[in-house]
Symmetry: C2
Subunit: 214 residues, 2 copies
DNA sequence: TCCGGGTTCAAACGCCTGTTTGAATTGGAA
DNA sequence: TTCCAATTCAAACAGGCGTTTGAACCCGGA
């Protein structure tokens, strides 16, 4: 593979990450990608064996980027108090609301997949060694009663991420007319506080019998 | 309009509700609908002025069906304790996990829309007098501190529904291999308990300064 | 210089989408 | 019965989709 070949590969991947994050996999066409990347139609099939192959590589890239990052890095999170770790994680999941860097795009892509997983993604999670939910599970576990079943912890983790994802996916909708939420740093901080505080206050109660007002 | 004409209208609407609930609006084609309804291709355009027009009528039907139902009926919910009302609401949102009746299909349709709102839906919520979120807002308000801003209450309501929707949309995914969740009455009851207890335990803390372990 | 594999390219393919067409059929009113 | 509007129907349309094709191009090595 010569140098210019890798150049177009990178152009394609860069454009694909941006578009997959913005619109999701299904609603992004290969013509969208090649137009943004300024390459030929057939380039995607030549270099990645089709749209699915490209998405598989992009997903791998996103997963590696996310697991090596502080937001879901197990070692760093364990050095924080459980409240700090949870708040940190939630704030990380909400990052696409404010920033458009690579990390935000990766998170946004997974937010789309949590809405309607594609075939490529399902195959990806089936073959990947560690679940991309394990970070969330580890965090909620620190709040759940010690004897909580694994299944309940998994559900709690899914619910936690579901709360973040709905805002990430519908950012533009909530910014507009019936809602008029100003998506700025102040708002995202407040939102992260809200989600984190509900989880912090509520998770310890999931097994207990008495769940009256605190 | 003669009688057989209304007959095919009803056939189309019935098939459309089932398919929109199962796959969402975008992934359901008019050919899917006419095949299931056993009517001609052009019938949808003749009776509803296109796929969008059909969806608009179906959305209206679903919204009316939901707001008149016990699960989100304001009067009935107010007669319950706030804990009972919240638990009732969450269980109602999770109904599509177990049952395939009309109510479940309506809820499932809105769960898809919460993932990626269609143009028709956005126009629908913009013109509808009462938000379909108002029931959720009313419930979370009963837990939030009295001086909570309307925006925070709205966010809490969205987060609450986001937790339910992610399970409704991905029911089949979670039932399969990496997760293996048995979606039966026992499981759904436990899940509703989990979501409700987290909210009950956590919502009162969203404004307070001290949010340490309970 | 010429060759040949790697890469790019314009064009087309086959399929699916929502919609339109215009003729055939139906069924109640005159 | 006759008529006419409402309804049904098979067929086609225009456009988007992912993918394939085969020729053109580039460029290092013989």
């Amino acid at each position: 593979m010569t140098r210019p070949a890798e150049h177009t590969r990178n152009l394609i991947i860069k454009a694909a990450v941006a578009l997959f994050a913005e619109k999701g996999f299904e609603r992004t066409s290969v013509r969208d990608i090649v137009t943004k990347a300024r390459v030929n139609q057939a380039a995607i099939n030549y270099h990645f064996k089709g749209k699915d192959g490209l998405y598989a590589e992009v997903l791998k890239l996103a997963f590696d980027g996310l697991t090596k990052n502080a937001g879901v890095d197990a070692a760093e999170l364990k050095s924080l108090s459980r409240e700090q770790a949870l708040r940190h994680f939630v704030r990380h999941q909400l990052r696409p609301l404010l920033f458009k860097d690579e990390m935000s795009r990766y998170i946004h892509m997974f937010a789309w997949e949590s809405a309607h997983p594609s075939k490529v993604f399902r195959k990806f999670v089936a073959t990947s060694t560690t679940s991309y939910l394990s970070a969330a599970v580890d965090i909620v576990r620190r709040f759940l009663p010690p004897d909580t079943e694994e299944r309940a912890a998994l559900c709690a983790a899914i619910a936690l991420m579901g709360q973040c994802n709905v805002f990430v996916r519908n950012r533009d909708l909530f910014a507009q007319d019936p809602f008029r939420m100003p998506i700025d740093e102040r708002f995202v901080d407040d939102l992260a506080d809200l989600i984190a505080k509900v989880a912090i206050g509520g998770l310890p109660h999931v097994n207990g019998a008495g769940v009256e007002t605190a």
